[in-house]
Amino acid sequence: MNGSILQHLAVTTATDIVRARSVARQEAARIGFGLADQTRLATAVSELARNVLKYATEGSCTIHEDSTPVEMRLHITMEDHGPGIPDITAAMKDGYSTGGGMGAGLPGTRRLVDKFEIESSPGFTRVTISMVRKRQ
């Protein structure tokens, strides 16, 4: 990816979820995203970080920007070395959960952002979410 890495955060405790999402919100605000987009991004980061903690116990969160004069573009990558998602297609469906949750996390997160990429195999899971807005 072009652009620059804004932040690289560890996700190992519940406090890190709070930090990751508030950093994501701050960065989004700084770039110029509106309040609704900031909230959506923060919620998405919160969901993904919670998943990392729950299924893989630790991972990392990278916030990345490659805005152009025309567009604001923010990407967040969440990586972990946990057991991986056995069935991605099922995990992306509403109401499917292996961890006793509501099963709304991943499909909900996908609806919150503009671009959602997921890859997972045992020992490595990476989710990248992006938000792109035209500058006013």
């Binding site: 999402r21 508030s22 923060a42 919620t43 919160s46 969901e47």
Partner: protein, 291 residues
Amino acid sequence: MSAKTNIAELSALLEQSRAAIIDEWKRTVMDLVGHKYPGVLSMDELHRHADLKLAAFSAYFASCREGLVTVTKESPLGKMVYDLSSDHDTRGIKPVDTALYLVALKKAISHQLVCAFPDSQEQFVEFLELLHGLMDQLTILSFDAYATTREKVIAQQSQSLMELSTPVIVLWNNVLLLPLVGVIDTIRARQFTERMLEAITRHEGIVTIIDVTGVPVFDTGVARHIMKAVDAAQLLGSRVVMTGISPEGAQTLTKLGISFANVISRVSLRAGVAEALKLVGRRIESIAGAN
């Protein structure tokens, strides 16, 4: 010459110039930090500290068979530094000044070594290395001690914050208000659910208002906790009115696919209170004659 002999000789030398070291150290500390804490640090106390510390040094050196051993926080010397740091912290002496304290001791000892030991340069260098190795360990320990003390304070504070954070307010007969503020994690969710259910039972709550104005991020985890609390409240026969979801929050929740189907939702706490009172057959009215 073996490390053992070096250590023994260094120890003997320290013992020999003990008075001079203490004297120089006291003066340096008083010069550097004494004026910042008038009445807190006294010469007597410094003297006692230095005396104890040098005695602990001797004991430590005596325990080193092959070169310096690592000073752990359980060893007498480590414990002394640890206690000094936490004692300083509770008395409001800044960590940087505690570090100066130790640095000044290193300086005083080095200086006295120079005075007392001009014989062989080689041995002198070895002495200094031993001394620096030891003092650096102590400085690191004192840093660790300071961090530990602070962590304890933070843990205590977050615990007391936790106790304050979920009050259940009796707004009117049979009407309860539960303002949620801050991060809702599993522990807090359990706590507010317990308190709410207890209050519903005790006050026969017919309506419970849950105000989420102060919840920064509403994700599926938080929603799940609140939904469970709502279900439990309804089992006890209390209606739930939810207030204070922000416009962005509402949008985010629908995107996530979360709907609080059997919950009455009102935009503000004011509207929520009006609704709750209506449910118990009350309303707020102006007093006749007042404008």
